[in-house]
Symmetry: C2
Subunit: 201 residues, 2 copies
């Protein structure tokens, strides 16, 4: 059979099976056996490559973070060169919003992990990344730049505005996932608020 197989590739295959289940059926349905079946391997294999379930969960979360980061980078790259502050802000926020199947998948899976963290906060400590704060800082920097360029009302507070935009997108995403509104409607609301922000006073 297979010998000296690529460990990283196998781990990726299994972790992505976990993410697929978390997306379609929720994390609580992602049992070791279900993951094994989804990945097309035996239960023993899953145990071999991930000694414990918590390890698998954390590894998959890392990969999910990398996916959304890649997606964001892609949107930023499509924002033109050189990118304007407004283009960057729009790209970052739009990439988070669940509009297409891919972003729906990512957002829904993130939501599944979110409640896992709520009920078991120590998981978050083992997973040191604090992306939201970094994102907020990045957005605040872009907003400050746009303000100095006269594209934004000088009375606006960059930090408050950045935090508000991020929370807005997060909330819009929740409403889309909850079926309250479509992804396009959410995007319309976001662009509406961005238009209001970026109009010269």
């Amino acid at each position: 059979m297979n010998v000296r197989v690529d460990h990283e590739e196998r781990r990726r295959q299994i972790a992505e099976a976990l993410l697929r289940i978390a997306d379609t059926q929720g994390l609580q349905s992602a049992s070791m056996r279900a993951v094994a079946a989804e990945a097309g391997v035996s239960l023993r294999l899953v145990q071999y490559y991930f000694a414990t379930k918590e390890g698998l969960l954390l590894d998959a979360l890392d990969r999910l973070g990398a996916q959304i980061q890649a997606r964001m980078a892609q949107w930023i790259g499509a924002a033109g060169s050189p990118p304007t502050p407004r283009g960057l802000v729009t790209a970052v926020l739009s990439s988070i919003l669940p509009t297409d199947p891919e972003s729906r998948r990512i957002t829904r899976t993130y939501a599944a992990y979110y409640t896992l963290v709520l009920s078991d906060p120590e998981v978050l400590e083992k997973h040191g990344t604090a992306q939201p704060d970094l994102l907020e800082g990045f957005l605040a920097k872009q907003i400050r730049a746009a303000r100095q360029a006269g594209e934004i009302d000088p009375g606006k507070d960059p930090e408050m505005t950045a935090a508000g935009l991020l929370a807005l997108v997060n909330g819009l995403g929740s409403s889309v996932l909850g079926g309250q509104r479509t992804g396009d409607a959410a995007l319309a609301i976001l662009t509406h608020h961005l238009d209001e922000l970026f109009r010269s006073p």
Copy 2:
């Protein structure tokens, strides 16, 4: 022992035990046995008053909705009489934000139910209430009134603004529950945005 006991009271007692567990340990930890122990009754009793677990879950969700509604009514009542549109908007949005232990409890429990719905959407159909849309309409109405009274820039779109505020508060709540920021910080961000909205142009 007890005879002809008050059914409604017992059901309330059990359902609130469920909500307490959902708050502190998450819904996935709210097993029938755990609920029974938390309520101080036997497993059989829980089964007796709620034939199925889904029934218990739905009943508890109803009570949770009633709780948040009561809380909102309380904040609205404290908004002065007669209440101004701005006061009403502020009251409604502030009542949702997890600032004190009570609202933290409610918001966290709602979050637990939220992911339950995400992984099992049919639950939502059996629970017909669509509060968010009603709330959004209410907020839009108040914003329109304030706009006509000259307290808000006439260029603002009431529906878009209402949806944005609700999503903002929702996202802020998530960040508070996730430990990214304190309830007071979230409230500061909200009031900042309300101040911007309600300033005469």
